[in-house]
């Protein structure tokens, strides 16, 4: 039996390494614009990939990696005290790759090798290939269980690092997510944070039509999670919620980030028909122009 509080012996907080400067909201907005450019260019160069699923979580990743939320050191990806970040909706990895490149894990030019033979940037994240990836994902529904295992390991070690898991709203169709949600509440892992990128659409339609998982916040609360809802494209609002994450007592936390699939590019926004489709050359030009990139 688990005994409440038995392994709660947190060590002093390790300061963020100086290699990752914390950005202001204005700087974060500019970084989000840069990440979207990378997402477009890398998926267009690959001729495949999931740009619209990447756009919806761009601000979430931007806030995590550059807003002083995630604790990491790109020069030391296996630093034991780092936070663990899991992109459970692995198909959105162009967004994570872009964030990792800008953070300094690897050169930004490497983003153009996305999905190409021999590249470390595979179509879905592969931890065996790319340092800084904590979980190989792509089969939906598995990331939260992995996160729970990591959170339990941190607690056994009395370590203070946190585990962050980004899930899609379509991904909530998977039963394993709810198995993990129940178990996380049982073990009261306050060091586990789930962020749902609720972008309203999945592969073949709107989530409300395919399989409605609303009311999401009520569901997570009833599963024993401290739950917040936030505009997932509002960096200021995101930061204020993310900064408090991990501080609930004996409870995991869920953040329902209300987002739009394809956010940032008018003709992709809200269009589920763009799932898993790169932009054409003409669309790429128009998209970059809309984002203010000449």
């Amino acid at each position: 039996m688990y005994e409440e509080g038995r392994y709660l012996t947190p060590e002093p907080q390790t300061p963020n390494p100086e290699t990752v400067p914390v950005q202001s909201v204005l700087e974060l907005q500019e970084t989000a614009r840069l990440l979207r450019k990378h997402i477009i260019l890398s998926t267009t160069a690959a001729g495949s990939g999931h740009p619209s699923s990447s756009f919806s979580c761009t601000e979430i990743l931007c806030a995590l990696y550059f807003g002083g939320i995630l604790r990491y050191d790109p020069t030391n990806p296996t630093w034991p005290d780092r936070d663990r970040f899991i992109l459970s909706k692995g198909h959105a990895c162009p967004a994570q790759y872009a964030a990792m490149a800008v953070a300094g894990y690897f050169p930004e030019e490497e983003l153009l090798t996305l999905r190409k033979l021999g590249s470390r940037l595979e179509g879905h994240p592969n931890l065996q290939r790319l340092p800084g990836i904590e979980a190989s994902t792509g089969s939906l529904g598995q990331g939260l269980s992995l996160g729970l295992g990591m959170a339990l390991a941190a607690r056994l070690d009395g370590a203070d690092w946190k585990t962050w898991v980004v899930l899609g709203d379509g991904e909530l169709d998977e039963g394993q997510v709810w198995e993990a949600a129940l178990a996380a509440a049982k073990y009261g892992v306050s060091n586990l944070i789930a962020i749902v990128d609720a972008n309203t659409a999945q592969q073949t339609g709107y989530t409300k039509d395919v399989l409605d998982t609303e009311p999401k916040a009520d569901k997570w609360r009833s599963f024993g999670w401290e739950t917040h809802e936030v505009d997932g494209h509002d960096l200021e609002a995101l930061l204020s919620v993310l900064k408090c994450a991990g501080s609930a007592e004996h409870r995991p936390q869920a953040i329902i980030a209300r987002t739009l699939k394809g956010k940032g590019v008018s003709f992709v926004e809200r269009e589920y028909g763009y799932h898993g489709k790169p932009l054409t050359e003409e669309e790429t030009r128009r998209a970059l122009e809309e984002l203010g990139w000449k």
């Binding site: 663990r84 592969n126 931890l127 529904g141 269980s145 996160g147 295992g149 390991a153 941190a154 198995e179």
Partner: protein, 317 residues
């Protein structure tokens, strides 16, 4: 019909019990050993570990997929987890998690499937692990081990814990005849020759090894010099011992408590075909589900006792 009875083999502990006790002992030696179970701990016998090390035991409820994922997460963060359920539940219910969260990232997770085969008896086909070995063998990088008795289960559990990488250990419900002495060698990835012979080789593992030894004793009386190999490790496979058996005895019967497809028989046949093809026969469950009954009745009805092995052997002689 009781396996091993004609030889007077002493009935020992079930392999699941020997596993649970070894896990408890290992837990005392390795503080990084953690265990995740899906509410079958008093059947898989991880409860023996849980009693000794409650802080490192996690019962995640009847949720095998999450069990495997949690174990993988623990492993990624430096723990050395074991997770256990009935063989058919962990392999069939959590296969995608074993593939994606464990095998693909080469996570150091040890998976145990108890209640393997049809010898679980009365609970019937829904509880019988009859496809688990095939599924485990299809997971890239997984080690796959099927011990036959309490002594070899202790060795197998210890060897797998010392191995840094994913592995599957198959255990059984029923008390198993003791085949290994304290001095019998057991090496991971190396078949154990339990009986030497030059006319025929019986390759078996798990509970049916006892039946193979019974058949070998009878064949010996009839003047057929019979070799018996305990092929406890399917991956990595001891191809050298199999090639030698094919070359030196010229006939092979493979015996397993599993479906015909993808298990020990297929694995051995592939190795023999690639080295020194010889006539072979296969004793297994075939392509069907079993039913409820006593373990002895079921093994007899579905052709996995020594008379069935004798019939298969005689086809080759």
């Amino acid at each position: 019909m009781e396996i091993g009875k004609t030889l007077g083999l002493k009935l020992g502990k079930a392999t699941r019990v020997a596993f649970g006790e070894t896990l408890r002992d290992l837990g005392g030696e390795d503080p990084a050993l953690v265990v995740v179970d899906a509410d079958l701990n008093n059947s898989t016998r991880t409860d023996i570990f849980a009693k000794a090390h409650p802080g490192r035991f996690f019962n995640v409820g009847i949720a095998e997929s999450n069990m495997v994922g949690v174990a993988a997460g623990l492993a990624s963060a430096g723990k050395r987890p074991w997770c256990a359920s009935f063989a058919t539940f962990v392999m069939s219910n959590a296969y995608d998690q074993l593939r994606m969260s464990v095998a693909f990232p080469r996570c150091n997770v040890k998976v145990v499937g108890s209640h393997s085969g049809i010898s679980i008896g009365e609970d019937g086909p829904s509880q019988m692990g009859i496809e688990d070995v095939a599924l485990a063998c299809c997971l890239p990088g997984f080690l796959v081990v099927v011990p036959c008795d309490e002594v070899s289960t202790i060795r197998a559990t210890r060897a797998l814990h010392a191995h840094a990488g994913p592995a599957y250990l198959r255990t059984g419900r029923a008390n198993a005849p003791v085949i290994y002495g304290e001095d019998t060698p057991w090496e991971l990835g190396k078949a154990t020759c339990l009986r030497s012979g030059t006319d025929l080789t019986l390759v078996a593992n798990g509970l049916l090894l006892g039946a193979a030894l019974e058949a070998a004793a009878i064949l010996e009386q009839e003047g057929v010099s019979t070799r018996v190999l305990d092929l406890h490790t399917l991956k990595p496979l001891d191809t050298a011992s199999l090639a030698a058996a094919a070359r030196e005895t010229g006939r092979i019967v493979v015996i397993e408590e599993h479906l015909a497809h993808g298990g020990l028989g297929s694995t051995v046949a592939m190795a023999v075909a690639a080295s020194h093809p010889v006539p072979m026969r296969f004793v297994n469950l075939g392509d069907q589900f079993a039913e409820s009954g006593t373990p002895g009745q079921l093994l007899e009805k579905y052709g996995m006792t020594y008379p069935a092995i004798l019939r298969a052997a005689r086809e080759l002689l």
